[in-house]
């Protein structure tokens, strides 16, 4: 399975150049702004300040985007529950899934009536994203 693929570095040269340029422009804009404020030209100072802030915002956005992609990579481990049911007295217990469990497998004895219980369900619960509007 030795083969060529995309490079694993997430910090590409293009992104690096854009970030450097944005950083340079922002610093220059802040310097111009400082000069303008010093020379009593408040309006021009505000404009340069605005350009500087915009440059910094762009920079932060790009860094966040890169980080978000990295964070999304791991495969999620799902929490799975096994429900054990006594068919005689309806006693029910829920525990985490254990390897070897399957639906309708005979489980331990019921603590109430000593009857053999069965695994009645195995499922994972998914929490829906809050505040997500759906059309019905």
């Amino acid at each position: 399975m030795s083969e060529k693929g995309p490079t694993e570095s997430r910090f590409s040269s293009i992104l690096f150049i854009i970030i450097i340029v944005a950083l340079g422009l922002s610093i220059a804009a802040f310097l111009f702004a400082a000069n303008a404020f010093g020379g009593q030209d408040a309006i021009q100072g505000s404009y340069f300040m605005l350009i500087g802030i915009m440059g910094l915002t762009l920079l932060t956005y790009m860094l966040i985007q890169t980080r978000r992609r990295t964070l999304r990579l791991p495969i999620q481990t799902q929490r799975v529950a096994t429900t054990i049911l006594c068919q005689k007295c309806d006693f029910k217990s829920i525990r985490s899934f254990q390897r070897g469990d399957y639906i309708f497998k005979e489980a331990e004895e019921c603590p109430k009536c000593n009857e053999k219980m069965i695994i009645a369900s195995i499922y994972r619960e998914v929490e829906e994203e809050k505040g997500k509007k759906e059309l019905s």
Binding site: P6, V80, G100
Partner: protein, 373 residues
């Protein structure tokens, strides 16, 4: 305020203004000349990001497969080489230029592939039971699928990069979100297959298991069991793949055999299966209709269609909706709960469409991993 804004930053005589005007001009000309190249670079970057994630998933699949096989007692020496060989396994479709008999040729190739996979797993982990072996086979198949997806996308990425063709890259970039969803589904399936947990695709098998639980079962076709269950005064032949190991069996062959054995006595067939939901639909929603809902390479679907046409048997279908990610990962609670709603629908269908004393078939389709009977 407005005149001041219009003056900035191109005030007359202002050197900074001139520099900015020239910069704008250069930017516009560059956009005209290199616009497509810039677009291509951006698209390539997006595909590269997806490819990076696919590579990660592929490597995780391989690692999971090797570690699980080692846990199950696979020999350390040649296990990695065997898994790598397995991940490169290909099955070539039969020729369909002359479609006559293509189904039987396809079935034969699928059977041979299945036997090869089972033999390979037996050689990797000789000491494990059938249930575990079936689960391992499924896990390896998921890893194989991840490897294929990664390699195909990498092929188009590299081809697009080499030829600088916007159209090759554009196609892959547009399909990437759907491909990623499928790959993520396979990546999530690894946990379910490794642990032997029931998956969303087994919703049909779960319904059949609930109906046949407590009744005597017998094997009817390859990896399929059937039980004779009295429901509402009718005799139902309830069938599903044999669990709890990962299995889909040959439900089409089983339905065909039951119908032919009972000649024309079967008055209706009800097929229960998981179906891909549309965006906006809720997982676990139940829908019904007519037709044969058997997924996969359609060999089994063909067998059922041929037999029901021959004997003029009406076929109803009950579907449990879920998305592709849910179909391959551990069964969601909503899908599990839908099984009882499906049983109610089946009972209603039986009461409305059949008479007391009739014989019917209820087939629970899907992978029965983690579901006994």
């Amino acid at each position: 305020m407005i005149p001041q804004v219009s003056q900035f930053p191109t005030g007359q005589g202002d050197i900074l203004g001139w520099i900015l005007q020239v910069a704008w001009l250069i930017l516009i000309v560059a956009t005209f000349i290199y616009g497509q190249r810039i677009q291509l670079t951006l698209m390539l970057r997006e595909v590269e990001g997806g490819l990076f994630r696919l590579k990660f998933m592929r490597d995780e699949g391989r690692k999971t497969a090797i570690s699980t096989l080692k846990e199950l007692g696979g020999s350390e020496t040649d296990l990695t080489a065997r898994v790598d060989r397995f991940l490169e396994y290909v099955a070539i479709e039969p020729v369909n230029l002359d479609p006559s008999g293509v189904i039987w040729r396809l079935e034969h190739l699928l059977d041979v592939r299945d036997i090869r996979f089972k033999d390979e797993v037996k050689l990797m982990v000789p000491g494990v039971g059938e249930t575990q072996r079936n689960n391992v086979e499924l896990m390896l198949e998921a890893a194989l699928d991840l490897n294929i997806i990664y390699k195909v996308i990498r092929h188009f990425y590299m081809l697009g990069k080499k030829t600088k063709s916007l159209y090759i890259i554009m196609q892959i970039q547009m399909l990437l979100p759907l491909i990623m969803r499928e790959a993520e589904a396979f990546a999530n399936a690894l946990q379910a297959f490794t642990q032997g947990q029931p998956i969303g695709d087994g919703a049909g098998a779960l319904v059949a298991a609930k109906l046949m639980h407590g009744h005597k079962t017998r094997k009817v076709a390859k990896d399929v069991v059937v039980a004779k269950v009295p429901i509402e005064g009718r005799t139902a032949y309830v069938l599903k793949a044999e669990g709890p190991g990962g299995n889909v069996g040959k439900p089409g062959e089983a339905i065909k055999q039951i119908i032919e054995k009972n000649k024309a006595k079967i008055t209706t067939a009800i097929i229960v299966d998981a179906a891909q939901k549309l965006e906006g639909e809720k997982p676990g929603e139940v829908a019904e209709g007519v037709g044969v809902a058997i997924g996969g390479p359609e060999v089994e679907k063909y067998k059922v269609e041929e037999t029901i046409v021959k004997y003029k048997i009406p076929v109803d279908v009950v579907l449990i909706k879920e998305d592709i990610g849910d179909a391959y990962s551990t069964m969601r609670k909503e899908v599990f709960d839908a099984a009882d709603a499906v049983i109610d629908r089946i009972k209603r269908l039986i009461l409305e469409r059949t008479k007391k004393g009739d014989s019917i078939i209820i087939a629970g389709i899907g992978n029965t991993i983690g579901v006994g009977q």
